[in-house]
């Protein structure tokens, strides 16, 4: 029976940022006044977090791996299982990366349209419905924040250059 279950990997992954952040506490500028220096509180947290992660690691090692984790890992299966969240994150990342170029309004409409189509499926009817939903809903939110709450959203190079 494999002693390495999913929790073991998570505990190890948790210990890594603890180490990185603890090392980073030595780059925090020290000051000559005050009892609690700027690095002291983060160090207290990181020591506690590291101890807890170690306890979690030991707990996970003591526990036998559940049946499903013994099954071989399949990238195709994982992608299929998390298809919708992956679409969401992928498209949201694209929306963020193109925000300066497309702006909030066009980028937002495209994000919602693409996400609806990716999850809801492609058909002639769906494309029309999704486009209408994206334009009306994002347009309404954009207008509400812009005109009622006075928020200035990124226009994007496309609109600026028009």
């Amino acid at each position: 029976m494999s002693r390495l279950n999913r929790d073991v990997y998570i505990a190890i992954v948790l210990l890594l940022p603890c180490g990185v952040f603890f090392a980073a506490t030595f780059n925090i500028r020290e000051i000559d006044y005050g009892i609690l220096t700027p690095s002291a509180w983060p160090r207290i947290i990181l020591v506690a977090l590291s101890i807890l992660s170690l306890v979690y690691l030991v707990q996970s090692l003591r526990r036998e791996a559940p049946e499903e984790t013994v099954e071989p890992f399949s990238l195709k299966g994982t992608i299929a299982k998390y298809r919708n969240p992956l679409w969401c994150y992928g498209l949201f990342l694209l929306f963020l990366l193109t925000l300066d170029y497309l702006g909030m309004l066009i980028g937002g409409v495209l994000f919602v349209f693409c996400l609806l189509t990716a999850i809801g499926g492609v058909s002639k009817r769906n494309l029309i419905v999704h486009a209408l939903i994206a334009i009306i809903m994002v347009g309404a939110m954009w207008a509400l924040f812009t005109y009622a709450l006075g928020v200035i959203f990124p226009q994007g190079e496309i609109i600026t250059n028009l």
Binding site: R6, D7, I10, F21, A24, T25, I28, R29, I31, Y33, G34, I35, L36, T37, P38, S39, W41, P42, I45, L46, A48, L49, L52, S53, V55, Y56, Q59, K81, Y82, R83, N84, P85, C88, Y89, F92, L93, F95, L96, L99, D100, M104, G108, F111, V112, L115, L116, I119, G120, G121, I133, M137, V138, M141, W142, F145, L149, G150, V151, F153, P154
Partner: protein, 561 residues
Amino acid sequence: MLFDNIAAAFHELFVVETIFLMMVGVVAGLIAGGVPGFTIAMAVVLTLPFTFGMDAVQGLAVMMGVFVGGLSGGLMSGILTGIPGTPSSVATTFDGFPMARAGRPGFALGLGVWSSFFGGIISAVLLVTLAPQLARIGLEFQQWDYFSLVLFALTITASLSGENLVKGLIAGGLGLLVATVGEDEINGVARFHFGNEALKQGFGFLPVLIGLFAFSQLLSDLQDRVKARQSLAEGGGVAVKIEHRKAAVAVLRRWANLLRSSLIGVFTGILPAAGSSISNILAYDQAKKASKEPEKFGTGYEDGIIAPESANNATAGGALITMMALGIPGDIVTAVMLGALLIHDVIPSPTFITETPVLAYSLFLAFFVANFMMLALQSYTLRLFVLVTRVRMYILASIILAYCAIGVFALSNIAFDIWTLFWFGILGYLMRIFGFPLAPMILGVVLGRIAEQWLARSLARSEDLGYFFTSPWSLFFLILAAFSIFFSKYQADRGRKSWTLVYPAVFMISLSLPAFMMGGPVRIGLGILLIAMGIRSLYKHHRNGWKIDPTKSDAPQLREG
């Protein structure tokens, strides 16, 4: 003085714009609470960007409307479709759905609405009377006591919010760590920026919260490809006429159940971390135990609707008591409210009510008024709810994701906040998948800077760490924190292992120590009582030959769902 404050709050709150916005908030809460997959916390979190441009009273009144509406909204889907809209209405479905299927949906809804209303009003009265008293006790707190109180809030949340205590504590620690990124509020030194200019300012509290909670929740809702394409309540509910008069009379006739359940709700709410998802089940269980007809529960029995619905609304008042009197959030929703107060430069503490009485009493009043609004608007919202339940999940989720980005940007007009939303959305989703509770992390983010400030103040006053153990209130909270760490283990082992027999006794005897240290006849008397109860418990088990009672393990578990 009390009436002066209420009058001033009345003047502040009863402005046409504020009342209108509160009504919109109540309707939004009722809809969000009614939609399965959307929680009250999510509705309150998503309301925050709208309230940012408002003043503190108006913004918090709107959030209060969403909060109260959300607590009552869950009963609509629970009764009409059998799917609880929020975890707060799980127990409502046990009798609400059978009653609706038996051809009495209007009466079932009426019972739910009126129980929610009376539960809310009872807790509003207790909020107004208890919060100032608790705050008066809080005025005795010194720097060490506050720090220990925050520590207790974190440990009890970690203990109650998940199957694995260590995971809960790790989540709390991660929240505290996130709060340290950026400029330190005591010395103004930037921490953990890794050369990134945007990180020098730290993470915005709201983008972190919306990412961790709302963004990740939406992705969890979309994960199932089949369910994502279904309507929110497949088969949907149909609009029915709520039988108000008949239901109100029925609820008042069962006043003992109403009162007991409301009190269970209030006291569950006062306990940090134990929210309405716990109180509704506890109240249902107690109502069944106290009933002369327990066999009728689960078949569409009136008491089975009254108990959970009055308890879940009453929990809101309890959670607000702790937040307003001590500055410690009772659950995720009040953690968001606390965050909203911090945004408006108001720091809840025991002096909050005395120093900002108009704001404090406006909140009391808003909670009171929101319950009346909920009662008046529920019938109209029911039609809207039926329409919303016909929308497919992926459509609603996609629109809300876009709204998250727009709302988060609107907070500070910087694109970095949307990146924060994105990264914490991923973190929140991974935490959900790997079984880490989000509540302790959110509390850690909210309380991290407050804890550091109190620690700094404690050390500035004296470098002697012994004060944390010699100050009575600090010792009191540290004892509570220590026992709360073992509480989940105690719950799991109760009725199975012998050590659980001594846990309550040792807890009571330990708590008597700070009570004696505090002095005064009442507290010393309380200390003696605690010792007597502890000894009685030990003696009882000794007489029984330290036998374990396996039936105890069937008791309802005090744990967030």
